[in-house]
């Protein structure tokens, strides 16, 4: 059955609300407005204001409230409208959510789930479009997930809610209207392993988030050029799944990491370092990266596109690595 990424996210939230009394959704405009991106449309009518909570425009305040609720035994799902605004809640996320288990000597778990929209969408420019997954993946104590497919948009929330520690789920604005086949019985997925989205033997394209479908499309076109690319969706940005990454390198001996976040000090840099540390002698070429251009996200569509790795860029880069033309 074809459904949109947005619908997959909504089904996940509805199911979570249905399954567990302790689960509630809070965030800016999630109730009456139906969510800034209409993900929670209709949920207020279905579950009532007790479980679908509009909050004041204070990220620090409502994320902190979510953390408090989690400490109090609830299972809050906190929506932060975009990753850009999450910087206001950074103190709560880093100094409280990620740290309390340690500070309490293991007594206080913080089972909160934070959902954030991420990446470009509808020309939302430099204050609403960034890819800051690397900022959160840097922090011990957090579990950082990236829903790069409909399957994960549908399945990650359930598993994240079972987790006793704070989980951040990145969702991708640009993919909300994207349709894909999802089995009617689609449900919970694991949140500890990367996933081989397409098997291949010539090169590993390692990516996550909005890069996954781009990499898959590129891989499809590369087949025509005689290149059998493997596509790895990292899914879990913290803790990274070394085993899947290294196994793939051992098979293909070449790696291209594709990421929308800025290139310096990002996930791709970390993946590259781990490959060098662990399987240097499996490499038949240097690890290459395609990352976001290091500028504030431009407003014009053509510049927005140009600032991110696109399908054509991936194809070109892979061909250069393998065929040198």
């Amino acid at each position: 059955m074809k459904i949109t990424y947005r619908e997959a996210l909504k089904q996940a939230i509805r199911e979570a609300l249905q399954n567990d009394e302790r689960v509630f959704l809070m965030g800016e405009d999630v109730g009456r407005y139906g969510g800034a991106f209409a993900v929670s449309k209709g949920l207020l009518q279905e579950f009532g204001p007790g479980r679908i909570m509009d909050v004041p425009l204070s990220e620090s305040g409502f994320v902190g409230a979510g953390i408090g609720a989690a400490l109090g035994g609830m299972r809050p799902v906190v929506e932060v409208m975009t990753v850009n605004f999450s910087l206001l809640a950074m103190d709560q996320l880093v100094n409280n959510a990620a740290t309390l288990l340690h500070m309490s000597g293991g007594q206080l778990n913080v089972p909160v789930v934070i959902r954030m929209s991420c990446g470009t969408g509808r020309q939302l420019a430099a204050q609403h479009s960034h890819s800051w997954e690397p900022l959160y993946a840097h922090i011990p104590g957090l579990i950082v997930l990236s829903a790069g497919t409909h399957e994960d948009a549908r399945g990650m929330l359930h598993t994240a809610l079972q987790c006793p520690d704070p989980v951040i789920i990145f969702e991708y604005t640009a993919m909300l209207n994207l349709e894909a086949d999802l089995p009617a019985d689609a449900g919970a997925v694991n949140i500890d392993r990367a996933c081989v989205r397409k098997e291949g033997k010539d090169i590993s394209i390692i990516t996550y988030g909005a890069g996954v479908y781009k990499a898959l499309d590129a891989a499809k076109e590369l087949t025509a050029a005689g290149i059998d690319a493997e596509v790895i969706d990292l899914r879990v940005l913290r803790p990274l799944d070394n085993i899947s990454i290294l196994d793939s390198v051992r098979k293909t001996h070449r790696v291209l990491v594709v990421e929308e976040a800025w290139g310096s000090v990002n996930i791709a840099a970390e993946v590259s370092a781990r490959i060098m540390e662990n399987v240097f002698y499996e490499l038949d070429a240097g690890v290459q990266r395609l990352c976001g251009i290091e500028v504030p996200m431009p407003y014009p569509k053509h510049l927005e596109d140009a600032s991110l790795p696109q399908i054509e860029d991936i194809i070109k880069k892979v061909k250069k690595m393998l065929q040198h033309d």
């Binding site: 001996h253 240097f280 002698y281 499996e282 490499l283 038949d284 070429a285 240097g286 040198h324």
Partner: protein, 377 residues
């Protein structure tokens, strides 16, 4: 710190491949210890060290090919103070060729690993990867291409190498050295009679061959005429030790010329022991570095059953070569009487830049005088 460099194992050697280190950092070594095995055109050569000390650092890696004079290892001297005064001179002499072969081969880590596993030399491979880098595929192709002929070719390759080495040295010699030749006949009656008596007192294993008398007589004659025990290097440079290079022909073709060190100081039995030790090793191409590089003159001896006269080509930078034909019964006139005697034809090839015919003649006369007094040899 003593610098241990790739030795020159003959005028024709430009580079050698380190096959194996027989020491590791921290090992103590003394003069004469074999510390490495180097492959040259003349086969695998055991390399000796001439200093005492502790191995500090192995600079050249196994399987690396480096030019003569390249620093291979650093040795911490046990007598640093003694070594120092003479160091400056030695150093500049050794450091003449600081040619660097360290231009890195561009190869992927995987290609390097596979090459090491398959024993493929990356230097021989043309890379098809990005920027001409060698990839795993390149190595595998090279390994596949190499696989079949390798086994068969190995012995002929060695023979070929020796052939080319001889060719290079002899071409250089004939190109650069103005040879003059002298020849004389020597009555071997007395020396052979003496030898026959001497051998009766010896067990089979201790028996002497006539050639040891010849070698010793050459050594003694060189002590009388030292200008022939020398190198030509922008002038005549006499050598203060007499190391006689003894040409040994290989059945597969080519010659090896190991040095009999200090031949003038050795007794006949010691000389025979040297030959017994060296000849089989030469034929198996298992000689030591010093044996291949230290000769100050060369003897070529054809031995029984061969032709009566040999005119040699000097092995540079030496200045003389003594040739012995086979000992043959010939008519011999002496004191108005004609008889049949065992006769040896001796020739001398000498470098006319270094000496003149008169010197050569004095040498051959002295040689005969020593040979006719075998109990003094």
């Amino acid at each position: 710190m003593i610098e241990f460099c790739m030795p020159s194992l003959g005028a024709d050697m430009e580079a050698g491949t380190l096959r194996e280190w027989l020491v590791k950092p921290g090992d103590t070594v003394k003069r004469g210890d074999i510390i490495a095995v180097v492959e040259t055109q003349k086969g695998l050569i055991d390399i000796e060290v001439f200093d005492e000390g502790t191995i500090d650092q192995l600079v050249v890696k196994e399987e690396e090919k480096v030019p003569v004079g390249t620093l291979m290892a650093l040795i911490a001297s046990t007598k640093e103070a003694v070594v120092k005064p003479e160091q400056p001179e030695v150093k500049t002499a050794e450091k003449i060729i600081p040619v660097s072969l360290t231009t890195t081969v561009k190869a992927s880590p995987l290609a390097r690993r596979v090459a090491a596993e398959k024993g493929v030399d990356l230097a021989d491979i043309k890379g098809t990867g990005e920027g001409g880098a060698i990839t795993k595929e390149d190595v595998e192709k090279a390994a596949a291409a190499q696989k079949e002929p390798v086994k068969e070719e190995q012995p002929t390759m060695a023979a070929e190498g020796i052939r080319m080495a001889v060719a290079a040295a002899m071409s250089k010699s004939n190109r650069e050295i103005p040879h003059y030749y002298l020849e004389t006949k020597v009555d071997m009656t007395l020396p052979l009679a003496w030898l026959s008596e001497a051998n009766k007192k010896r067990t089979v294993k201790q028996r002497l061959l006539p050639v040891v008398l010849l070698v010793k007589a050459v050594a003694k004659a060189l002590a009388d005429v030292p200008d022939l025990n020398a190198y030509w290097d922008n002038g005549l440079q006499r050598k203060d030790v007499i190391n006689i290079g003894f040409a040994i022909s290989l059945r597969t073709g080519g010659v090896m010329i190991p040095a009999i060190h200090l031949a003038d100081k050795k007794t006949l039995d010691e000389l025979m022991a040297s030959l017994n030790d060296m000849i089989p090793r030469a034929r198996a191409m298992k000689l030591r570095s010093s044996e291949l590089s230290d000769s100050t003159i060369t003897i070529t001896s054809l031995g029984e059953g061969n032709v009566e006269t040999v005119y040699g080509v000097i092995y540079p930078p030496q200045v003389a070569l003594v040739g012995f034909g086979s000992i043959i019964e010939q008519p011999w006139a002496e004191q108005g009487m004609l008889g049949v005697r065992p006769i040896l034809t001796v020739t001398l090839a000498a470098d006319h830049r270094a000496t003149d015919g008169a010197t050569g003649s004095r040498f051959l006369v002295a040689f005969n005088e020593h040979l006719q007094k075998p109990d003094m040899l």
